[in-house]
Amino acid sequence: MPPAYLGEFEQQVLLVVFRLDGEAYGPAIGTELERRAGRRVSRGALYTTFDRLEDKGLLRWRTVPGTDARDGLPRRLYTVTAPGLAALRAAREVVRNLWDGLDSRLRKESGR
């Protein structure tokens, strides 16, 4: 089965989850996304994306007890699954292929 196709936002979310390595839960992911991608992320969109990625089998989670900062409400820690990693790899491959040979030209064009 070929790796799943990832939308742009899905890809960004997966990458952030991967980067946070075991500490990926809602607020952390949101903040990291906003910091790195430089865009405002609506939490609604974020949760929908979690659901969709989970439905596609690219993401999995476990529940851990909450902290005082959230009045003891539980947290969900996300990790990227093997198919998730495959999808990320494939997406990177696509981008890399598309970029192939274009770096030098881009430099030239912007240097002009």
Partner: protein, 869 residues
């Protein structure tokens, strides 16, 4: 410092709209944590809470909206792909919704909407009843005592009709009004828009005449001049000062031109006679917290006391009360409810028809559904899609129905019997539109659900495997048969109703009236006050008659105090001289007293069966004579010759003057076509004059054409005598049966439409069966079956359905036509002749509808039939 709390409503929103359980806790926890980290930014929390709720809903049920859009697109495509089918469905629905909305508008305007008076449900209409239980008007003196003694009413007001001739302001005009007590307007909860209402001083004996005029009269007669207050009106030669103008749209029972205070007649002797019931009707406004029953029983108690106190003049009296609202609509209520019932049935038939059509198409599409189900389309989704389709259809049908309703409503209002109360309040208003929307929606659900239910139960594989034409399952066929049987039954009910009305009208128009209104023109006249002594009345009428007589085209002219069909204006007890006076007062007979001119009988072609008609010799001072009708002669002097007998009008204890019976006139339907024949006494006008009378002329030409000449003739004798209701007398007769006529019209149209719908349904059923069985037909024909045998087999199914429906319909109609009883004349609700005819017509049409497609099928060549599929 305690941690900041997010906005409570936003939290509540989350709790309410996120799915319960772990997941919701996690999201709330995340948002809370971040909210605190952001230093309690409430705006942020709100924004994110809303976005979370909305986005998650959209994802989870994503599809609802998407699906709906998709369904609508599909439905649109399906409906536009078969424009003929769609048009049939939409038109059927429009017919049902349109007709029912139009009738609803009338029922709502006339029966349901509250009267345009303050707290109309607290108003009671009060009359007296005599010993026999007949409702009679209220005696003034009794009213005065009620008013003084009753504790359960805020106000008790009395009023009596009064007709005036308005003179001194251009052309004399006839005005309809009421003489009222000073608290009348207060009781109704109305005050004049300009000027004042009546005061107690206006009611005292000898008070100057004052009038409160209607908005319409103010506009018509005074061009809305605000200076009208204080103006003097000459009403039947008496001066009345205008003190107020009523608000526009004010109605009491019917549009009156004006109301005058009782003052000028308050001291009159005839008013103070307790035994005299002078045409008063009393309106009572109930005190707060008092029920109508409590008030009525108090009045009854007071009346009993009065009967005890005034034995001679109040003997046997009782009180009759009724809510004003129900009194007002009484004459038309039955007709309207019957029509409303009929229209409900029509709507149901339309629904069933559409359901049948959709079902047939659903069956044809079963293959499609099965394939979709097999490809993973949920049953719910399929059913939803069908519902969307039917909703689309019913919306279109409803919209078209509203258009149709506005047209129909105008026609119905025009066809409504003259004098139908509150007709001017009928309109296609919000309530009617809501009704139309409701009817259309109900239809959509009803006829959408059935095929939807059927589709959702389609056994997928089974249907796919079967061939396409055989795909229409026997189940759907059976369901359609049941629907059609119900439809036929309902159509039969409408047909039976229409049939009964046709018979009723036939009976009504073939009744022997005893007179002829053909080529007769009539008008109501009133001799002005100034010319009211007996001699001048006779002279005035003589002059008018000779003028009218000389109009070209007039054959004869006459006049009478009362005319047939409109009924008697004067009833009185009388006594034959040769009979012993009975001991019981209520055993004294009563008859219609009708003063007439000599040519009265000739003009209306009444037959003198014995003795002679009146002549010019029967003048004042000559021996007093009367003519009686056959009924009176037969009852008073059975087996004897009435000519030469004598009778008196009035009580036996004050004998005379005695009048000789000189003639007997054949019975006339005086009180209306459907009424029995009362005893009648005709008196020569010259010996018993009245101020009011009806002028009549028999013409050789179209009676309407001499109306202007008649007006001129009267005007040339006296300028102050306006003619009221001038027109052919046929109209009076026609108007008197307007209610059954309207019922026949509406029921007839409905029945026709119902019959057509049911026939179309049967046609469709058989046509469909034929398509399904084409192969079988081919095989049979190949095996040597005759064409007739094929047709018989194919027709049998449809006709069986019709027969079943008709049988059920007869049972249903037998129950339902009982509600028509009040409208019928000369025919019983379960009239075997009508029912037989109706069943025959229905089955005949049904058989024809079944035979056409069957016959067509039998013409198909064997090979074509065998090749099907």
């Amino acid at each position: 410092m305690s941690a900041p709390r997010p906005p409570r409503p936003a939290e509540r929103l989350l709790r309410a709209l996120l799915p319960r359980g772990r997941e919701a806790d996690i999201i709330r926890g995340d948002l809370l944590e971040e909210f605190r980290r952001r230093g309690g930014d409430r705006g942020w929390y709100w924004r994110e809470a809303v976005s979370t709720v909305v986005q998650r809903h959209r994802y989870r049920h994503m599809l609802t909206l998407d699906h709906l859009r998709h369904d609508l697109r599909c439905a649109w495509r399906t409906t536009t792909r078969k424009p003929g089918f769609t048009a049939l469905v939409v038109l059927t629905l429009a017919l049902g919704v349109g007709a029912s909305t139009a009738i609803f508008s009338i029922v709502n305007g006339v029966l349901l909407r509250p009267l345009p008076l303050r707290d109309p449900d607290r108003l009671l209409w009060i009359n007296e009843a005599n010993r026999r239980g007949d409702t009679i008007s209220v005696s003034w003196m009794n009213y005065v005592d009620w008013r003084a003694r009753a504790r359960t009413f805020d106000t008790l007001a009395a009023s009596r009709p009064a007709t005036f001739t308005l003179s001194g302001a251009g052309q004399a005009r006839r005005l309809e009004g009421r003489t009222v007590t000073s608290n009348f307007l207060t009781a109704l909860g109305t005050q004049p828009a300009i000027g004042r209402g009546f005061s107690e001083a206006d009611e005292r004996p000898g008070a100057a005449g004052v009038a409160v005029i209607s908005h319409e009269l103010w506009q018509r007669q005074f061009n809305g001049d605000p200076e009208v207050l204080g103006r003097t009106l000459m009403l039947s030669a008496n001066p009345y000062t205008v003190v107020g103008v009523l608000p526009a749209g004010f109605r009491y029972l019917r549009p009156y031109d004006l109301f005058v205070a009782l003052g000028p007649i308050a001291g009159a002797e005839w008013l103070l006679d307790r035994g005299n019931h002078q045409g008063f009707v009393v309106i009572g406004r109930l005190r707060n917290g008092i029920s109508a029953d409590a008030a009525s029983s108090e009045l009854r108690q007071i009346e009993q006391d009065l009967v005890r106190e005034y034995m001679a003049s109040a003997s046997g009296l009782s009180v009759v009360t009724e809510p004003l609202a129900s009194r007002l609509v009484k004459p038309i209520k039955d007709t309207l409810l019957v029509l409303f019932g009929a229209v409900g049935i029509l709507l149901l038939i339309a629904c069933l028809n559409v359901a049948g059509l959709l079902l047939a198409r659903g069956a044809a599409r079963q293959h499609e559904f099965a394939v979709r189900a097999a490809l993973g389309g949920g049953r719910l989704r399929l059913a939803t899609q069908l519902l969307v389709e039917s909703t689309l259809l019913s919306t279109a049908g409803g919209a078209l129905g509203v258009l149709l309703a506005s047209v129909l409503l105008r026609a119905l209002v025009a066809a409504a019997p003259a004098g139908t109360p509150r007709l001017d309040e009928v309109s296609l208003d919000t309530a009617a539109l809501a009704f139309a929307a409701l009817a259309a929606t109900a239809c959509g659900l009803l006829f959408g659900l059935m095929p939807a239910f059927q589709a959702s139960s389609a056994g997928g594989q089974q249907v796919i495997v079967r061939t396409r034409t055989a795909g229409a399952s026997a189940g759907s066929h059976r369901l359609r048969s049941v629907l059609l049987a119900v439809e036929v039954a309902l159509a039969l009910v409408l047909l039976a109703g229409a049939g009964l009305m046709v018979r009723t009208l036939g009976r009504l128009t073939s009744v022997d009236l005893g007179f002829s209104t053909d080529h007769v023109i009539s008008a109501r006249l009133q001799i002005p006050e100034a010319a009211r002594d007996e001699a001048r009345r006779v002279a005035t009428l003589d002059a008018i008659l000779s003028k009218v007589q000389s109009i070209p085209g007039v054959v004869s002219a006459g006049a009478g105090y009362s005319i047939p069909i409109e009924g008697s204006n004067w009833n009185s007890i009388f006594w034959p001289q040769d009979r012993p006076v009975p001991s019981r007062r209520d055993a004294i007979p009563s008859a219609a007293m009708i003063p007439v001119t000599p040519s009265y009988f000739e003009v209306i072609r009444a037959r003198i069966v014995k003795g002679r008609a009146f002549s010019a010799a029967d003048r004042a001072g000559a021996p007093r004579v009367v003519i009686v009708n056959e009924t009176l002669a037969g009852r008073m002097w059975p087996g004897q010759d009435p000519i030469g007998k004598r009778l008196e009008q009035g009580w036996p204890e004050t004998p005379g003057p005695w009048r000789d019976v000189v003639g007997v006139v054949a019975d006339m339907k005086f009180e209306g076509i459907t009424e029995g024949i009362t005893m009648q006494v005709y008196l020569p006008f010259a010996q018993e004059t009245t101020a009011d009378f009806t002028l009549m002329a028999r013409t050789a030409v179209d009676p309407a054409s001499i109306a202007p000449a008649m007006r001129d003739a009267v005007g040339s004798v006296n300028r102050d005598m306006p003619l009221a209701g001038l027109g052919p007398m046929d109209v009076v007769l026609t108007d008197s049966i307007a209610r059954p006529r309207m019922a026949r019209l509406v029921l007839g149209v409905f029945a026709f439409v119902a019959l057509m719908l049911a026939s179309i349904g049967l046609f469709g059923l058989v046509a469909h069966a034929v398509t399904e069985r084409r192969h079988e037909v081919g095989v049979r024909m190949a095996l040597g079956a005759t064409r007739a045998a094929i047709v018989r087999t194919l027709v049998a199914g449809g006709v069986a359905t019709a027969v079943l429906g008709a049988a059920a319909g007869v049972g249903l109609a037998a129950v339902l036509t009982a509600s028509l009883r009040g409208l019928l004349f000369g025919v019983e609700p379960f009239d075997p002749l009508t029912f037989g005819a109706v069943v025959a017509v229905l089955l005949g049409v049904a058989t024809l509808a079944c035979a056409i497609p069957a016959y067509r099928a039998s013409r198909t060549g064997i090979t074509t039939a065998l090749r099907a599929d």
